[in-house]
Point group: C2
Chain length 319, copies 2
């Protein structure tokens, strides 16, 4: 049996945002039907960075994503985050495919946020605010543009060059540089910063806003003033991860938010097990930490798409 | 930067038992100097089998072994256990190599047991008993033959065909089929069975025996009658893993053994931080569960050996 190797450039040729959105939404539905398994991430912490092992199974696929975060990498010409997925047959354990999952990780993060916006934002939402113009901003915009008819995209980043680069990358979209307050005052707001103290003030958030809080993915990180969370309907991707490393981790540690203040998981909202927003005025927050079922579901889709093509490297790996 | 892919047949051409023993012993010395990191294994449990993510770092290398255990696989013509290692540069996280680690896993398990025998068995030990003639028996014999001048190897397995196959595989060694009692009555005894109740009785174990208890690697598994452990000097590879899934896990759960009854870790004995056997009469037991630093240290050695050869598949994987 051959194992399919998919390099970064192979993956770029296979990634399509609307398909990634479909694969991720399906994984959340499978999760709501208890058809997935996802043990806790395991962290390997070294001097220059860390690694996370993210195992999961979804129907028809099992595997692990192994992903690093090395903040000094850009000065060496390497990405901060690089990820590899090993995708296995759940019935035998055979390694079906090994994939560069670096780009897939950014795609699935954007896809998950856009799905959260689909279920939580006001119907007819048409303005998107982006705080932070780094790598994650690109896939947030791509994914939201798939699901919303956006009339304005407002981007704030103190690094003006990053904003210019982002705007130039998407000539097809109505993107403009904005102040922080202007970006926040949007129907849908995505915060994609590495902030360790709140950048979004309560007073700037309009009634009815949906916020995707993406940046916080480790203890000590937060992007929103805790009163935003306290007043909002808060939906998380995974309760365990959100409380220890998501947007709510700092307020929980400080006693300003509790686990009982979480309204639902995204899987519960998507499946209808829990209701979404209550009114046009509700502020909704999706606390995204990134979970392994998203990765393994996207890998499953990519593998099915790639299988059988002569263009990819396939070899008898296990002998 | 290229990533080196090493398939099972590549690895077979690179594996040398004496080099594996050297790599594993070095990893235990590095562990005793606190130069390694090894978070807990993460288990993904499915209907037909399970997977384990085993992350670790040793000096100069970091990575994860992803390994399955699917007991029904032999009926499908596949190995029960298949393993893949992703080896990364600890300074940047870059994936240096992806390896079929199935054969490496058997080698490092044999190597670790032989190292334990080197430090714990009586000087001049010359008889080796093997209980269980499956896959793991082969590397136990190979590794012990590297470090000991063996005058007799006594193999017991209720499956006679497995014993015959093992004997025929090693014409160069003095191997004979033996009864269970005869195999146990050896200077060094290796138990490599999937037993869930003790197969080795206290009364059969002679004074001065060193036992490598290899088989137990999950809760509920045990190979030795608890009085053997209670009377012996017990050395473990990893205290956390041994107490939850090693030979001592069942006696601990039953209150017949406690964590305080553990004499030392293998790293402590190798480094001289804790003494080894006290006398010719001491019974010593090494409780082996298999730990990730062994795997990553062997992968580091294999990668250094393979690097630069034109025979292996090297490609720009991360782009």
């Amino acid at each position: 049996m051959p194992t399919l190797f998919l390099s970064g450039s192979n993956i770029k040729g296979l990634l399509d945002m609307s398909e990634v959105i479909g694969a991720v939404e399906e994984a959340f539905r499978e999760s709501s039907r208890e058809e997935v398994q996802m043990p806790a991430k395991s962290y390997l912490t070294l001097e220059r960075g860390d690694f996370r092992a993210m195992p999961a199974s979804v129907p028809g696929a099992a595997g692990v994503k192994w992903v690093n975060v090395h903040p000094r990498n850009p000065s060496l010409g390497l990405p901060t985050v690089m990820a590899t997925i090993i995708l296995n047959d759940p019935l035998t354990g055979y390694p079906l495919s090994i994939m560069d999952a670096t780009e897939m990780t950014a795609y699935r993060t954007g896809a998950t946020a856009a799905i959260a916006s689909k279920y939580l934002a006001r119907p007819g939402a048409q303005t998107l605010g982006i705080v932070g113009a780094g790598r994650q901003a690109y896939t947030q915009i791509m994914a939201h543009a798939e699901l919303f008819d956006l009339k304005a995209i407002r981007v704030f980043d103190p690094a003006k060059a990053a904003v210019t680069k982002l705007i130039e990358h998407f000539p097809q979209y109505p993107i403009k540089e904005a102040s922080l307050e202007e970006a926040v005052a949007s129907d849908i707001l995505c915060t994609v910063t590495p902030a360790r103290s709140p950048v979004v003030r309560r007073e700037w958030v309009l009634p009815g806003t949906h916020i995707n809080a993406i940046g916080a993915d480790a203890a000590g990180k937060e992007e929103l003033e805790p009163p935003v969370l306290k007043e909002a309907m808060v939906v998380v991707d995974d309760i365990r991860q959100a409380t220890t490393s998501g947007e709510i981790n700092v307020p929980i540690a400080g006693g300003l938010f509790t686990i009982d203040d979480i309204h639902a998981t995204l899987a519960e909202v998507i499946s209808g097990q829990r209701p979404g927003r209550e009114s046009e005025e509700t502020i909704t927050v999706f606390d995204s930490t990134g979970i392994a079922i998203e990765d393994i579901a996207v890998a499953r889709m990519i593998y099915e798409k790639a299988k059988g093509s002569p263009d990819y490297l396939s070899l008898k790996f296990v002998e």
